[in-house]
């Protein structure tokens, strides 16, 4: 297949060999599971259970609400211990509403929705419904509800379903292992998704540093002429949805547009496997493969982890720490976020838990910018990180926005190459947060302005109506043919006073 170059990018040390040959192991059920109501982009799910309820594996315990949301299911059978505020797997460590489930050890399945016998004869709508019902979200890390993305076919003309198996983040091998061990399930899921989307073509993009995955997937796809495997060059951030689309189609997604506007929808390989389970067996998303790695982990592994397992339990399962970790990261080392505590749950978007030692982290102090331009060369979005950071440092966020800071997706390439160790991407994350906040404030102000205007009009109308009512009473009391305006006025006034 003809491939196209992408702009910029870096070649970090991948260190995938820590876990790439470790087959997926199943984690035993921990003592308690912590299932947050919000593990996805959009509105939190609406809780369906109460303290003390007995639930079975796969039973829906929180329902999706609103247009963009995902439901949550019990990862095993057991008793609902409580619903409490538990720290989220988020750098802030802020709490969120979480269902705490005590497993009973039986791991008994609930009555699941019937399998869709022939998904290719089923209507796309039926498949959306099933995916929505199964609580599937994008498992590459962004955790966008998959059913919403599968619906794009009804709004736009789509040509290609692009399955993202690039896994360009260093250390992570969970997608690699899923492709190697469950190739048929991934391809079946992809074909079902392509049917739901109405795309004639499926392309599976895999970075060249995963030769076994490429070989196994190519063999599994041989039976289906519309499924192609594309071995894409090793170049971080190839796994970014927009860049993978560019590498495959040669077209760049315009700023603030979707890849679907180019006729391409991108889903992660693990998501495809989850769709296969939901459609063929009626099983919701209750577990995922997590790469636990980093030099501070005693036994780096790929673990099939029940959703809601505490990171502390997962680390314990992998032999605990062999050295003091300088930082524990949720996700990959480039775009992942540090975790303030180990007492946070694994969620649907958790692709990796990395315990990194001081040697694996760049702790060098920041020095002044030497204007080398490296950050500009590597920026895969064609931005100028040095300029944006300078303006943000001086709190000139408007200029930074004009320079395109909102188009930065925080891949971290600029911070990685900066010889002065300037925390460039940190500046951009800060600026994006503030700009988003300002935008929300602006929208709220607009809404409040309308509210105030509506109220003013309503009060004016009420006053008008009062005056009219008063005027209407005037001729009735004034029926005598006097016609004296002064008298009439006096009567009305008297009435009003009385």
């Amino acid at each position: 297949m003809k491939l196209f170059p992408i702009r910029g990018g870096i070649h970090p040390e991948y260190r995938k060999d820590l876990t790439s040959e470790q087959a997926i192991v199943v984690m035993p059920m921990p003592a308690a599971l912590y299932i947050p109501l919000q593990q996805h982009i959009g509105a939190p799910a609406e809780i369906l259970v109460a303290e003390g309820d007995l639930v079975k594996k796969g039973q829906m315990i929180a329902r999706n609400q609103g247009a963009v949301s995902a439901s949550q299911h019990a990862p095993t059978s057991g008793r609902i211990k409580s619903v409490a505020e538990v720290a989220a797997p988020h750098p802030s460590g802020l709490p969120q509403k979480t269902i705490i489930l005590e497993p009973d050890g039986k791991d008994e399945w609930a009555d699941l929705p019937a399998p869709i016998a022939d998904p290719f004869a089923a209507s796309p709508h039926e498949i959306h419904e099933r995916v929505a019902q199964s609580g599937i979200v994008g498992m590459g890390g962004a955790a966008f509800p998959s059913a919403v993305k599968l619906n794009l076919g009804t709004q736009k003309k789509l040509e290609t379903l692009l399955l993202n198996g690039a896994e360009c983040e260093p250390y992570l091998t969970c997608d690699d292992r899923v492709m190697r061990e469950y190739a048929d399930e991934v391809i079946d899921g992809a074909r079902i998704m392509a049917h739901a989307l109405g795309t004639p073509r499926v392309v599976i993009g895999i970075e060249e540093n995963k030769p076994q995955a490429i070989e196994i997937m190519t063999r599994a796809a041989a039976a289906f002429p519309n499924v192609e495997i594309a071995a894409v060059p090793v170049q971080y951030p190839m796994g970014s949805e927009r860049h993978l689309v560019q590498a495959i189609t040669g077209r760049e997604t315009p700023a603030r547009k979707l890849t679907a506007d180019l006729g391409v929808v991108v889903h992660n390989v693990a998501t495809a496997r989850a769709v296969h389970h939901a459609v063929r067996f009626g099983r919701p998303l209750v577990a995922r493969v997590v790469t636990v790695s980093g030099s501070a982990i005693r036994k780096p592994s790929n673990v099939m982890t029940p959703i809601g397992t505490l990171v502390a339990d997962l680390v314990e399962f992998c032999g605990g720490f062999s050295a003091r970790p300088e930082s524990v990261v949720n996700g990959g080392p480039m775009m992942g976020q540090p975790l303030p505590s180990l007492d946070v749950p694994v969620v649907k978007g958790t692709s990796g838990i990395l315990a990194l030692t001081a040697e694996e982290i760049n702790g060098s102090p920041t020095s002044a910018c030497i204007r080398c331009g490296s950050c500009v060369t590597v920026c895969p979005c064609g931005l100028s990180p040095v300029d944006m950071a300078a303006f943000i440092r001086k709190d000139n966020l408007d200029v930074a926005a004009k320079l395109g800071v909102m188009d930065c997706f925080s891949c971290g390439s600029c911070s990685y190459v900066c010889p002065s160790h300037i925390p460039l991407v940190h500046y951009f994350n800060y600026a994006k947060g503030v700009l988003r906040e300002l935008e929300n404030d602006r929208r709220k102000n607009e809404r409040i302005k309308t509210l105030a205007e509506v109220r003013t009009i309503r009060i004016e109308k009420a006053t008008e109506a009062k005056r009219a009512a008063l005027a209407a009473r005037k001729p009735a009391s004034d029926a005598a043919p006097s016609g004296n305006a002064g008298e009439a006025k006096a009567t009305t006034e008297e009435k009003a006073n009385a």
């Binding site: 994006k432 809404r447 205007e453």
Partner: protein, 190 residues
């Protein structure tokens, strides 16, 4: 020949007369509209709360445009508006005495509320729900923090509170550069 002359002269006269009438009218009936005032009006929160001491946002904008009012009077606008106004009008605002508490919204302590509806009548954005002798509550999404309701509450049941930091609105703070060595003093060479 003379017919043509008459036509030219009369048309010229009519043109001149109409032109001068229009000219006079444009001067005499001109609507005084200060473009600056309009711009300032658009910057205001627009909830007509009257906390600034003027009847509404338009009047405050007018006073600002004439340079009669201080730029620090708008309570709902807060520090963000003051900064925007200061840039627009080129006035240095003294923010040192003002601590930026960040945006706030009203909150009704429901145990103390007696249901007098005074705050409901006061609220310019219909952000308070409740009925006579029944407890009231604030619709936070519609409250813009003018604090007018706080002043009319007979039982001090309304307080201003800050918006909580949640997972939805949290963001990274500005990076602190560790490198804070003082610059070497430059001594001019004689």
């Amino acid at each position: 020949m003379s017919g043509m002359l008459i036509a030219i002269v009369s048309l010229t006269l009519i043109g001149l007369a109409l032109g001068s009438i229009l000219g006079v009218a444009a001067r005499k009936f001109a609507v005084k509209e200060d473009p600056l005032e309009e711009e300032l009006k658009a910057m205001m929160p627009g909830s007509q709360c009257g906390q600034c001491g003027y009847v509404g946002c338009a009047q405050y904008a007018g006073a600002l445009a004439k340079g009669e009012a201080a730029i620090t009077l708008c309570a709902p606008g807060g520090k963000v508006l003051i900064e925007a106004l200061s840039e627009k009008l080129g006035i240095e605002a003294d923010l040192s005495g003002m601590e930026d508490k960040g945006p706030e919204h009203a909150y009704i302590i429901e145990d103390i509320c007696i249901g007098c509806t005074r705050c409901i009548r006061e609220c310019s954005t219909d952000a308070i729900m409740g009925a006579n002798k029944l407890m009231h509550t604030i619709i936070v999404d519609a409250c813009h923090g003018c604090s007018k309701c706080v002043k009319v509450c007979p039982t001090d049941a309304i307080v201003m509170v800050q918006y909580p930091v949640t997972l939805a609105n949290w963001h990274w703070s500005k990076p602190e550069i560790e490198n804070t060595e003082p610059k070497p003093e430059i001594v001019p060479a004689h």
